[in-house]
Each structure stands twice: as structure tokens, then as C-alpha cells.
């Protein structure tokens, strides 16, 4: 054994069998695969068309980044009352805020496009995200989705995975959806899972909180804050994989979860 130990970047923590299994699970959901459904829901053409409508019709009041009206950030999916796509369509077509936002008469493809552009986080080359019902999303978060078995919200739940109490102001809808559909693509590098074996032969699993050349800090499986001097370790392994697999929930369910996560705005 050499000291300090080499840090191993594990290409995949999954056994070939487990990997095949998870692929099968994904395939089993077939047409409900979220990525596919989202791509079909709004096309790239719709998003690009929407960006032109936005610049012409909306940007005067909402600003090029969508944040110039108090309490609203269109790019980040923050609205005063609207939640679903139907809500947005209603506000655009019917006006809002006692007439301060006028009613817009848009052709269906224009209306569809501007909603797509908003849902794509103002990224014309992006993917539009469907935002569903927050109440159903909360039930999924705590139930079938099993999110609450690792994530903490407003003081409830384990601390081992990142606390999501304010995730709605930290992440765009697109990133929230991706964190479920393609977690490996959205896992922040600092949050990588680690396995440490100390010279005292203690094995510690945890989530990395901080690291430098000589030390590493993490929260372990017992929710304890731990700090290690690397020279005192027998091994330090860092996983390149997220802890959870791509979700097997349906597209509608993911949309509901995104809707719920966007309501998590931290302590005001």
C-alpha cells in the first residue's frame, strides 16, 4: 500500500448485470420514457419559434432574461400563480394582474412556442420541460418516487443526500428534470459519493462536502460530519456515478415532481 493512496475514479460502480437490469427497466417503461416524451411534447422548432415570439411580444415588459417583473422569473420557471402549461396559456391569452398584463392574441403555434421557450429556460437549443402538479409531485416525492428516503426537505428526512429545501431557486426546471432522468449528467462534482478506508480499518461511506490536496470532508452514512487527512487513509474511492439510477417514473410523474421541486424555495 502506498501513502497517500491514489484516488480511484470508478468508471462505473454497477456490475454488468445490474447495469443491464437498469437498462431493461428503462426500456420497460417504453413510450413513457421522459426524455422521449419531452422531446415530443415541444419540438426544437417550437422552442426556436417561441424565442422569436418572446422577443417581439414579451420582452418589452418581462425583459430579455424574463426577470424584470417583480416576483416573476420566466427563465427559471418562477411565476406568480401559474404552474402548469395550461395555466401559462391562460395567462397569456387572458391577461393577468388586473389588466397590468394584457391579453395576447397568439396563433396556437405561437402560444405553444412561447410556452416551449419559457419551459426550455430561454435556451433556443434546449429541451422544454413539462411542469406538472405540485401536490401530486409532493406525494410522489414522499411515496412512490422514494426521493424522501435520501433527500431532506424543510427539516424532515435524512441529510445524506443534498437537502432540497431551496432547490426551486437553485435549479432550472430542465436541470431538475434531468436530475431524475439522467442523474449522471446533473450530479454536481462536489456531491460525489466516496468510500474511505482508514488505517484503523474503518470503512466510511459518504457524500463529499469539501476537498483539498491533503484533506477531504464528507457527511457519512450516520449523518456525521467527518474530516480525513489523506495521508492517514488506506484508500479513498470517489464514485463517478450518482447514487440513484435514472428514474422509472412516467413523464407525467416526473413533471409533477418538477412542479413540486419548484415550490421548494427555502426560508423566505
Amino acid at each position: 500500500m502506498t501513502y497517500p493512496p491514489q484516488k480511484h475514479r470508478l468508471q462505473s460502480l454497477l456490475s454488468p448485470r445490474l447495469w443491464r437490469l437498469s437498462c431493461l427497466l428503462l426500456l420497460a417503461t417504453g413510450g413513457q420514457s421522459v426524455a422521449q416524451e419531452s422531446d415530443h411534447q415541444y419540438t426544437s422548432e417550437a422552442i426556436q419559434a417561441g424565442s422569436r415570439v418572446y422577443v417581439q411580444q414579451c420582452a418589452l415588459c418581462h425583459g430579455p432574461q424574463g426577470e424584470t417583473v417583480d416576483g416573476i422569473n420566466l427563465r427559471l420557471g418562477q411565476f406568480r400563480t401559474a404552474r402548469t402549461d395550461d395555466d401559462l396559456a391562460g395567462v397569456i391569452s387572458g391577461g393577468a394582474a388586473g389588466g397590468r398584463m394584457p391579453a395576447f392574441t397568439l396563433r396556437p403555434e405561437e402560444l405553444n412556442g412561447v410556452i416551449a421557450y419559457i419551459r426550455a429556460g430561454f435556451d433556443p437549443s434546449g429541451v422544454a420541460i413539462s411542469i406538472g402538479d405540485a401536490t401530486r409531485g409532493k406525494a410522489l416525492f414522499e411515496g412512490k418516487g422514494e426521493c424522501a428516503s435520501c433527500h431532506r426537505v424543510n427539516g424532515k428526512g435524512p441529510r445524506t443526500a443534498p437537502d432540497l429545501s431551496d432547490i426551486g431557486v437553485l435549479r432550472t426546471p430542465a436541470i431538475l428534470q434531468n436530475s431524475m432522468v439522467a442523474p449522471a449528467a446533473t450530479l454536481l462534482p462536489i456531491n460525489r459519493a466516496v468510500r474511505i478506508v482508514t488505517r484503523r480499518e474503518e470503512t466510511v461511506f459518504g457524500r463529499r462536502l469539501n476537498e483539498d490536496t491533503y484533506t477531504v470532508q464528507l457527511i457519512d452514512a450516520n449523518e456525521q460530519l467527518r474530516s480525513f487527512v489523506k495521508a492517514d487513509l488506506v484508500s479513498y474511492e470517489l464514485s463517478s456515478e450518482p447514487v440513484h439510477q435514472p428514474t422509472t417514473l412516467s413523464g407525467d410523474e416526473v413533471a409533477d415532481l418538477v412542479g413540486y421541486l419548484l415550490t421548494l424555495r427555502g426560508m423566505q
Binding site: L10, L13, L14, S15, L18, S149, C150, R152, N154, G155, G157, P158, R159, T160, A161, D163, S165, D166, A193, R195, E202, F205, R207, L209, N210, D212, Y214, T215, Q217, I219, A221, N222, E223, Q224, L225, R226, S227, V229, E237, S239, E241, V243, H244, G266, M267
Partner: protein, 557 residues
């Protein structure tokens, strides 16, 4: 491959493992209960409260570092503050994890052995938050799974101790009237207690207790009595409504008497005492409040109708010792007004008072400890000067030496100028101004903090003396003089070491019995808080803040 699968499975089920493995973990941190804080002296490896324990003695039973091996002290780590300004935070250390603040209101959990940060919480204050004398914060309090911090915009925030996420926030005072919080909260039983700053802005001071779990208000005590309350007649007209009397330093607690003790700040406007006739209770006083109800049990006013900004925001230091041959519960107090006091902390009775520096605002104290006021003619200097003969920086008492240690300012005087000033909400309410007495016209005076690497004011304008006071006599047994003044607090240990510093950036250790200098390190930045000590894995550490750096020392391996 088996190992890797295991890794994944463990991580997948991290949440579910918590209860099962809690009893197995070797290094499992214990919960911070009130009982642990109450018995803080029994776990000297930790530093559980602002002043190290409810008696606020800043004395530690740790004795690994001794006068014999102190030359082996070396820096183990340094943490640089990320913002400018004097750094007054006092660390709390619990089972190897240190909780600190940096101005204005960031909280960090730090590995006490390496100085590396686990998490940081950042509070953004209201834009109109203001404090007179720097965006200071002096640290947090910890109870259960929560960390508590008061904010510049007068809120109290509870954070999750493990991940730093905010759990609740309550409005303590109105920022539009310049209420603020700079002190570390005090935990007593199931309550978290804070006071408010704003003595230079015409606030009406108070101290308030909240349920530590929920943030629900439990009791509130105004430091200026309202109409119909005892002491209200010490104010004229509506002066009481904006008479100051802030509380910005953490208090002490006697669990047997169930009393909390708080030092109360200056009345406002600061320098025009004639504008607010009367004693101006409870400004410049110590108050004893019932820990459960906030009811006032007694008070003692050091400086009635103060026109010199002589805040009594010192730490109430509690000792049990013989007084005239009788075992007594005492309170030791070196006041900003230049007098050292011994009080009976059961009743508030005055036992002893003596000036420890030159004093001319008063010619002495009567049998009840009330000063004979001798205001100086206009344009003539007053000793001690505006920053006081000492101030908020924490003293220490060693039960081994029986001595009380604190930083005093000697040969420092101020010429005050009083002016009528009308109160305007949220604006400075000072009633005049002052200049520091200097030996030559236009020479630099001593300021609130040190901002110049060259000491152009010199010891002729004021300098520090670390005093080792014998509380039985009110006389300093020895003193250790420094060239510049000092805002450093004190730490004593069971190996009879005394650690302190000053504005010059020297961090030094003295023999607590004799005052002999044993060791020093030039850290370069002003030291404006007391050092603390703790132990992790059998190694004793000393932490001190100097300038923008927090440095932690231990013996060479």
C-alpha cells in the same frame, strides 16, 4: 466487484441505515443537550458556549500545553476570513467540529483539526441594516441539532447543525429603527436568548427568549421600564422611548439561582446627559432576570445618567469564593467606567468598588456603589476616555490563581462635547461628539479599531495593561503593559497559562501567577476576541483570531 456492489448498496440505503448504525459508530457525535452545556466544565475538550460555560470564566481544565513545553507550540492551520473588517467571532467547538461566523452573517462548520470547511450558510441582510461600529458578529450558540445566529438586521436564525440549512427565522427587532444583533445567543434550558444593539440609534433596548425548537417567543424584558413599571421615573417625559440601553454581549447564568445576568449598554443620546435627566435605568447596569420568565430580580447601575458612553456590556463573570470569611456567590466586573466591582449575585448587593485606572468623571463610590459624579468643565479631558477603561472583550478568572484577568486602557482620555439632538427614527442619536486627548495638537488619537500598521498615536495617547486583579482587594496583583491599547479577551488554563493578545497582532502566553511572558507569536492582525481551547484525539488546541485570520495552535508532533 462484490465490494463495489456493496458500496453502491450502502449509498443507496444511506437514509435507512441511520438508526441501525447509530449505536455502532465509533465517532458518533453526541447530541448537544442542555445538561451538557450546564456541565460544560466536565468536557473541557469542547467549548460549548460563548464564554466556555455559564459562569463565563473562560478557564479550561486542559493542561497538555504547559509553561515547560509551550516553546513547542506551532500553527496547525489558519482560516482566512473572506470579508474585510475586524473579525470578532468566538468559535464553539463540539466533538471536533467548530462553528464560527464571519461578518456580517455567514456561519461555517469547520473541521477543528484541519480548519477545512464542511458547510457555509450566508444570510443576506436588509439593505438598511446598520450598526454603529462595524458589521460585527461574535458567534453562534448550539443546542440539540441546531445552530443559532443573530443577524445585523435583527433576526434570529436557527440552522441545521449538520448541513447548515435554515430551519426557522424570527424577527427580533425592527431594522427600520436600527435594531441589530451582533452578540452570540445564550442557550438556557430549552430557550435561546438574545439582546439587541442600537444604542447609538435611539432604540429601546430589550432581551428576549425564544423556544429553541420552534422560535416562539417565551419572554421579553425591556431594559428601559415603560410607564407604570418600577424605574420608569428615572426617565423624563418620552426620553424612555428612544433611550438606548442595548444588550450586545452574551450574558451568564446561575442554574442554582435560576438567574441570567446581562450587561446593559449606554443611554442615548450618548454624550448629552443633560438632555435626558434622571438615572436612566437600566442603562449601564447589570440586570438579573429569571431564566424562565424574564422577570427582573435585581439590578445594579454602575453609571447613572451616563454622558460618556460607558456601556456596561462587559461579561458578567460568576465566581464562588469566600467573602469576609463566608462562602459567597459573587460577580466580578471590571467596568468600562474605570471601576472594578464585586457584587453579591444573589441580591445584587454592592461589596467592593475601586478604580483600576485614572478616573476623574467621579471622585469615588458611596457605600452602595453609586458614584459621586464630578463632570469636567467643557473642553477638559475625562478619564477614562470614550472607548472606556475596558470594554466588551471577555475577561477570565482562574480558580487556581484566584485572579481576574482583563485588558485595561491606561492613560487614555477624551474631551466630550454635548449637543441637543432631536431623535429621528433609524438615524444616529449621539448628542454631540468627542476628541481623544493627545499630547500635541492634531496628533492621531486612538480609534475604535486599528487600521494603520504604524502606531502614530503611541502609548502617550493610551496603552494596554493586562491586569491580574485580586478580587478580594480590588488591587492588581500584577499587570503586563503593552505599547498599544488592546481589545483582546482572555483565556486561562489548568496549567496556569494565560493566553491573550492585542491590536499589535502579538499573540502571547503568560504565567497566570506571575505575569511573566512565556511565549509569543506575531500574527500581524489585531486580536479583538478571546482565544479558546479544545481537544481532539488527545491533542490540545488553542484558537485565536488575528486580523482576517483564525489560527489554531498545538504542540509540535
Amino acid at each position: 466487484m462484490k465490494t463495489l456492489n456493496h458500496f453502491l448498496i450502502v449509498l443507496l440505503s444511506l437514509g435507512g441505515l441511520i438508526s441501525a448504525s447509530a449505536t455502532l459508530a465509533q465517532n458518533q457525535a453526541q447530541e448537544i443537550t442542555y445538561d451538557r452545556i450546564l456541565n460544560a466544565a466536565e468536557e473541557p475538550q469542547n467549548w460549548l458556549t460563548y464564554n466556555g460555560g455559564y459562569a463565563s470564566q473562560r478557564y479550561s481544565e486542559l493542561d497538555q500545553i504547559t509553561p515547560r513545553n509551550i516553546d513547542d507550540l506551532e500553527v496547525k492551520w489558519t482560516l482566512q476570513n473572506q470579508v474585510f473588517g475586524a473579525w470578532q467571532t468566538n468559535p464553539i467547538v463540539i466533538d471536533g467540529i467548530m462553528y464560527i461566523t464571519q461578518r456580517p452573517n455567514d456561519v461555517m462548520a469547520v473541521d477543528a483539526v484541519t480548519g477545512r470547511v464542511f458547510w457555509m450558510y450566508r444570510h443576506t441582510n436588509a439593505e438598511n441594516a446598520r450598526v454603529c461600529c462595524g458589521a460585527n458578529n461574535r458567534g453562534v450558540a448550539v443546542l440539540g441539532d441546531k445552530v443559532y445566529m443573530g443577524t445585523q438586521d435583527a433576526h434570529l436564525i436557527a440552522l441545521d447543525r449538520i448541513n447548515g440549512k435554515p430551519l426557522w427565522k424570527v424577527k427580533v427587532g425592527d431594522v427600520n429603527f436600527a435594531y441589530s444583533i451582533t452578540m452570540a445567543p445564550l442557550i438556557v434550558k430549552d430557550k435561546v436568548i438574545v439582546g439587541v444593539g442600537g444604542g447609538e440609534y435611539g432604540i429601546r433596548g430589550f432581551v428576549v427568549a425564544y423556544d429553541a425548537e420552534t422560535g416562539e417567543e417565551a419572554w421579553k424584558f425591556y431594559t428601559i421600564p415603560g410607564p407604570g413599571e418600577p424605574g420608569h421615573d428615572s426617565w423624563d417625559g418620552d426620553d424612555w422611548e428612544h433611550g438606548g440601553a442595548p444588550i450586545w454581549i452574551t450574558g451568564s447564568f446561575d442554574p442554582e439561582l435560576n438567574l441570567t445576568y446581562w450587561g446593559v449598554g449606554n443611554p442615548g443620546p450618548d454624550w448629552n446627559a443633560a438632555q435626558r435627566p434622571g438615572d436612566n435605568l437600566y442603562s449601564d447596569s447589570v440586570i438579573a432576570l429569571d431564566a424562565d420568565t424574564g422577570e427582573l430580580k435585581w439590578h445594579f447601575q454602575f453609571t447613572p445618567n451616563d454622558g460618556y458612553d460607558y456601556d456596561a456590556v462587559q461579561v458578567p463573570l460568576l465566581v464562588d469564593m469566600d467573602w469576609n470569611g463566608t462562602p459567597s456567590k459573587l460577580m466580578l466586573w471590571a467596568n468600562r467606567n474605570g471601576y472594578f466591582y464585586v457584587l453579591d449575585r444573589v441580591t445584587g448587593k454592592y461589596l467592593l468598588g475601586k478604580n483600576y485606572v485614572k478616573v476623574n468623571w467621579s471622585s469615588g463610590l458611596d457605600e452602595n456603589g453609586r458614584p459621586f459624579a464630578t463632570p469636567q468643565p467643557e473642553g477638559m479631558p475625562t478619564w477614562p476616555g470614550n472607548q472606556g477603561a475596558t470594554n466588551w472583550y471577555p475577561p477570565s478568572y482562574s480558580p487556581r490563581t484566584g485572579l481576574f484577568y482583563f485588558s485595561a486602557w491606561e492613560d487614555y482620555a477624551t474631551i466630550y462635547r454635548a449637543e441637543e439632538q432631536e431623535y429621528e427614527p433609524g438615524r444616529a442619536f449621539l448628542g454631540g461628539g468627542f476628541t481623544v486627548l493627545t499630547p500635541a495638537q492634531g496628533a492621531p488619537g486612538v480609534g475604535i479599531g486599528r487600521t494603520n500598521p504604524i502606531n502614530t498615536w503611541t502609548d502617550e495617547v493610551g496603552h494596554a495593561a493586562l491586569m491580574a486583579m485580586d478580587p478580594q482587594t480590588g488591587e492588581a496583583k500584577w499587570k503586563y503593559e503593552q505599547f498599544d491599547v488592546s481589545d483582546s479577551g482572555m483565556l486561562t488554563t489548568a496549567s496556569d497559562l494565560l493566553f491573550t493578545g492585542g491590536r499589535e497582532g502579538h499573540f502571547h502566553a503568560l504565567d497566570a501567577r506571575t505575569g511573566e511572558l512565556l511565549w509569543k507569536a506575531s500574527l500581524g492582525g489585531q486580536i479583538v476576541m478571546a482565544p479558546i481551547t479544545f481537544m481532539v484525539d488527545g491533542v490540545q488546541y488553542i484558537t485565536v483570531v488575528s486580523g482576517h485570520a483564525m489560527s489554531t495552535f498545538a504542540l509540535r508532533d
